[in-house]
Assembly symmetry: C2
Homo-oligomer: 399 residues x 2
């Protein structure tokens, strides 16, 4: 076989490791028009893997902006029967779903937030059956384009963005598909091990960080790939480096110092430190951007309580890429992190929202991941076996 180009490796990765596409299966490909070349490569890889059809779902920023500027909220929330028929047919045919994400948010500057938030309810609900959960195999992957490059580098240097994305996606590995399958197995094994320990508390300890977080009884950890309802593996996120769960919203004590900048409401926040008491963030300082963080924490009651604790070790390739990606898919995977805001339902599986809230889960309109991992970080935990060490100097040590 001839050597694959970077684009071919990328396409092959998401088609094979991402959605594990099978011969005769259909593929729905959500893509921005800003990265057509990537969408074309993924289409070719999908057909080469035996796709029965590839249906592109194009997003175009300026067209969407026209729609937002001219239509009423009523028009923007009206379900279209033919889209419902299409979604039902895709669900019935068992399509796989790939989303190539990385758009240019500047096209929506000044747009009406009410209209931007408008959703076609039934269309969204039926599409979510295909794009979330385990009924279908789906994968969200970062896709370099000029608008995204401009956010990171201040100029549309797509070549440079490709370099860092290739690093983060392990495209420099001789066999990226095998590399990611192996990595997903490691992460899944870690999650299973953590579940077996029945942890009640984790503690992050590093330079400027000493945070103890309580966990709800019965909480489940997630990591690596998922298994769909027919028993086939897939990877919902590429890259993914984390093992994570949702903590108890009332139990967080201590301080954190961010080791990476974070983008909040489009603004870069650096040198952030936060203090927690009884689960609430009680104070925030930063070298830049503290105001936007404080404003976000005032969004609702749950905004200043944790919705996620996550473990990422130094084998992650995100930090190695050396940039802020302005994209959670990448940035949260740069190191151990926590997130204030909404909890994950699947972290307490089989329970209603009320039951989860009663058990300690958080609810909020926001969910902001902030990285506290890196050189020197130690993470310990308490559980069934007493105190255990999870990471030491940013390396996974739990046997």
């Amino acid at each position: 076989m001839a050597a694959m180009t970077l684009l071919e490796r990328y396409a092959n990765l998401v088609v094979r490791a991402g959605v594990n596409l099978q011969p005769g299966q259909g593929l729905v490909l959500a893509t921005d028009t800003a990265h057509l070349e990537i969408a074309r490569a993924v289409t070719e890889a999908a057909y080469a893997a035996g796709a029965a059809f590839v249906e592109p779902l194009f997003d175009d920023g300026p067209m969407r902006r026209s729609e937002l500027d001219h239509l009423s909220v009523e028009q923007l929330t009206a379900d279209r029967p033919w889209v419902l028929a299409r979604n039902a047919a895709w669900d019935e045919r068992g399509v796989a779903f790939i989303a190539l994400v990385g758009s240019d948010p500047t096209v929506f500057e000044g747009a009406d937030p009410l209209r931007m938030a408008a959703r076609r309810r039934e269309e969204s609900r039926t599409m979510r059956k295909v794009t979330t959960g385990t009924a279908h195999r789906w994968s969200v992957i970062g896709a370099p384009n000029p608008g995204w490059a401009r956010q990171i580098f201040g100029e549309p240097d797509t070549d440079r963005l490709w370099e860092v994305v290739a690093t983060a996606l392990r495209l420099d590995d001789p066999d990226p598909v095998a590399a990611w399958r192996a990595r997903a197995e490691v992460l899944a094994a870690r999650a299973a091990r953590l579940d077996a320990l029945a942890l009640t508390e984790v503690r992050y300890l590093g330079d400027g960080t000493d945070l103890r977080v309580g966990l709800p009884a019965g909480c489940r950890w997630t990591g690596g790939g998922l298994v769909d309802d027919s028993g086939m593996l897939f990877m919902p996120n590429l890259p993914t480096e984390e093992v994570f769960t949702s903590p108890h919203r009332e139990h967080a004590e201590g301080t954190i110092r961010l080791t990476k900048p974070v983008v909040v409401a489009g603004q870069l926040v650096t040198g952030l430190r936060a203090t927690f008491r009884d689960g609430r963030i009680t104070g925030v300082t930063a070298d830049a951007g503290a105001e936007v963080v404080r404003a976000q924490l005032d969004t609702d009651e749950g905004a200043r309580r944790l919705g996620e604790v996550s473990l990422v070790d130094r084998d992650s390739r995100i930090a190695a890429a050396g940039v802020v990606f302005h994209n959670t898919l990448f940035d949260e995977n740069a190191g151990c992190h926590v997130a204030w805001g909404n909890s994950f339902p699947f972290a307490l599986p089989g329970r209603s929202a009320e039951e989860r809230f009663a058990a300690g889960h958080n609810t909020s309109m926001v969910h902001t991941d902030v990285v506290i991992g890196g050189e020197g970080l130690t993470v310990t935990a308490r559980g069934r076996d007493g105190e255990v060490t999870l990471l030491e100097d940013d390396a996974w040590v739990l046997a």
Copy 2:
């Protein structure tokens, strides 16, 4: 109102004069990904005109090529139920339809002709209800892009292509919408006048051309815009400069000398001369490309008989643009022309295919327009009022 850009004039032209879009109406916009900027401008113009929704139908050459290379003819002809549901809903909602055409055929070089010819039968049939006829208002307009520019100029000089397209589309007029509505009225009036004359023969007489063509009894001429089933005007083609009908396939005598090159099977044919006897082309010579024409004329029995006679006067802006557009929408409108190959059903309205064939219409897989008009051309005709002159020195003279 601020001065409109060229792109805005173009978009406004096709939305208003082309499909005559009404507030609250939906628009289906077929576009190649090669001219996204144009599709965006048309989308904005449509929403500004009150569109309830704009649904883009993207064509992407490389994605289509992947599909053609990997799928079987059976897969390529399978109707997708969700597309049928969508087409039915669009039909029911009375959408308008715009096609932005001008793609790059080189992407299909070497593709399997059998697969390229494959059509999803019911999808095509139901879509044709929206994209042809008079149940919906629809418009096909040329859209500059790099691939099309390369065909014309040998390099992807889109700016230069825009200049000639702008000339052909009268975008230099202070009010292109009004200019085209006026032009359409003139052409429609000419068609009505020709119908009233009940012509039985037309004769083209110019330098190297002396062709007499018989017309079937009851034939109808078409020109300018059409009126949809609800009585509203629209312009199916932009640009359009012709008044045309389908002649009797057995009655053509004489010779023609082309005044413009013609593109046949992707090849430029120059200096073409052809001889007709009893309706058949009996001989062809050319400075270049005679072979590809002869091959085409051997396609089927009807290939060497006429399917169209057309009248275009010197007020056409196509010839003024001074290039071969490699696009029939433009090139046929450069001057008076005839076409060998298939006839137009609407030129003998209300009759079955068998009845039309019995009346003299032609059937063929091909339809190639060749321009014989220009300086010095005279066109005369015989009918109810005896002999009349239609054009003199390329100018319309029929009162």
